[in-house]
Amino acid sequence: MSVQFVVPGSKSVSRPPSVAAYLVDRTFFFIAALGALIIIALVAYILWEIGGQALPAIRTSGAKFLINTGWDAQRGNFGILPQIWGTLYSSLLALAIGGFIGITIAIFLTQDFLPPRIAVIFRTLIEMLAAIPSVVFGLWGIFVVIPFVRPGANWLFEHAGFIPFFGSSLSGPGLLPAVIVLSIMILPTVAAISQDAIGLVPYKIKEAAYGMGATRWEAILKVIVPTASGGIFSALVLGFGRALGETMALAMLIGNSNQISLSLFSPANTLAALLASNFPEAAQPERQALMYAALVLLAITLVVNVFGTLILIWTSQKVAKA
């Protein structure tokens, strides 16, 4: 039992928390700790399981797996460099486009550009994008995006084909439609988290900016966005993570071709798309190689998140440092 500080005869109503309150405190701690442990255990288990299944492939191909460019199930020759390239290239492009648009939308929806009611409608619409199934995005990409971008892409190839980015024609599925759809898919994540981050900028900071005689854009670009940069950065890291792991829409749109090209119009492949399209019919040596590929994808995602977190901690420490 805890101490009590009682003055005899006083009318004070102060008293220590009840036993039940302490009990609830403890229970909450245990539940929270248990939840954290379960998550750690789950991640460890997944790594263990995939690692175990990938082990034969790791033994036979080793690091060569990461730099080989062919995927030949018959001969048992596996390499995922084109998929690693495709994953990073498509995700970075999608991050550039989706990130830019997402942050712009976040600014528009938080800085009184729109009447509050319309801003709410917009916000809901964008959040609804996140609820559209990946397959639907894939279908939309095939039936709408590809026909829409093809004429322009082929015009660029004919007239500016010497630029590496336009160095091939777009005959159907390819990097560009995949990137466009991927950008739209990560947009709600980036927009929603950036909005929260910008919304957390204290009013007095905005007031200070306007008080110095900043125009609206000066206040936004020089003060408000930099103040929210930590949260916006997190939004981008999460969006990038989503892009890295996106599977279905990409498997439908990217063309599943193992080549490394800068061209936006050539078909490509990603790790997630490779897994999705090859797994269902894979027999043994290929299965192990696919597990190895899954492990690599997991590692890339992990590295991105860890780096993101580290940069975030590092920058916020720089801000807090005396």
């Binding site: 007031e207 306007y210 008080g211 110095m212 005689g213 900043a214 003060v223 801000v319 440092k321």
Partner: protein
């Protein structure tokens, strides 16, 4: 821009010792009449103190002197506020321009989350200052009596300073661009007595070059630094709580020989 030129050069024939001639008939927030009938001339090279009970509209009047209130939806001013002979509420006047010539220091320190140097240089860069930024920053920090404390860590974040230092940083930020008038809304309310005295000394120092309008809850402070004091009060007669100017005059007169009973009572501490 043409407005800037007008503001820089006073029209000939205007009373030369008034920086801002504030003639408020009515200030509304939405339907709420916050302030009525307040004519507050802010004299050049002097400190004008605004005192009065809480909610009487001191901040409202102060913030209407550089159109800060335009940020608040529903704000509406009836009357005229002449800055160097130009009505700042006239059609076609951009509040942004007004705020570049009339700086502001707020009640809560609000440095930007950037380095100490960048905080002070912010206004210089905003105004596309082409000269020696470092020199201006040092000068502003010295004026704000902060230089010695921060000269070795100009790259550190402005948020890493103590509350009092942050407030002096905000003052340095506001004076770096040498605005014509400085508005200060209870700049010492979050500070301890020592920091408060330093900022008061600073105001007296700044007065040589600037015109200052100062809102304060602290009557001793008004007495110590203000040359002119404006006393506001609230009028609860018509159902609302509308603020208005009761009396304005030399600080000594307001405190030692107030003309109205209301001022007398307030100064004696009979209500607050």
């Amino acid at each position: 821009m043409s407005t800037a030129a007008v503001l820089r050069r006073p029209k000939t024939g205007t009373s030369s010792d008034i920086a801002i001639d504030c003639n408020v008939n009515k200030i509304f927030y939405g339907n709420f009449l916050a302030v009525r009938d307040s004519a507050v001339p802010i004299e050049k090279g002097k400190i004008t103190g605004f005192i009065g009970p809480s909610g009487c509209g001191k901040s409202t009047v102060l913030r209407s002197l550089n159109r800060m209130n335009d940020l608040i939806p529903g704000f509406r001013l009836e009357g005229k506020v002449d800055f160097l002979g130009q009505d700042i509420y006239a059609k076609g006047i951009d509040p942004v321009v007004v705020r570049r010539y009339i700086g502001m220091v707020f009640q809560q320190p609000n440095p930007f989350s950037m380095s100490i140097f960048d905080n002070v240089a912010f206004g210089l860069r905003l105004n596309r200052f082409k000269g020696d930024v470092e020199e201006k920053v040092e000068h502003a920090l010295r004026r704000a009596a902060l230089w010695d404390e921060v000269k070795d860590k100009l790259k550190a974040s402005g948020l890493s300073l103590s509350g009092g230092q942050q407030q002096r940083l905000c003052i340095a930020r506001a004076v770096a661009t040498e605005p014509t008038v400085l508005l200060m809304d209870e700049p010492c309310s979050a500070l301890d007595p020592i920091a408060t005295r330093r900022i008061e000394e600073l105001m007296l120092e700044l007065k040589k070059d600037y015109t200052i309008a100062l809102v304060t809850h602290n009557m001793q402070q008004a007495r110590r630094v203000a040359d002119v004091t404006a006393f506001f009060s609230v009028d609860i007669s018509k159902g609302g709580r509308t603020g208005f100017l009761v009396e304005i005059g030399d600080t000594n007169n307001i405190f030692d020989a107030p003309e109205t009973e209301l001022t007398k009572q307030y100064i004696r501490g009979e209500f607050s």
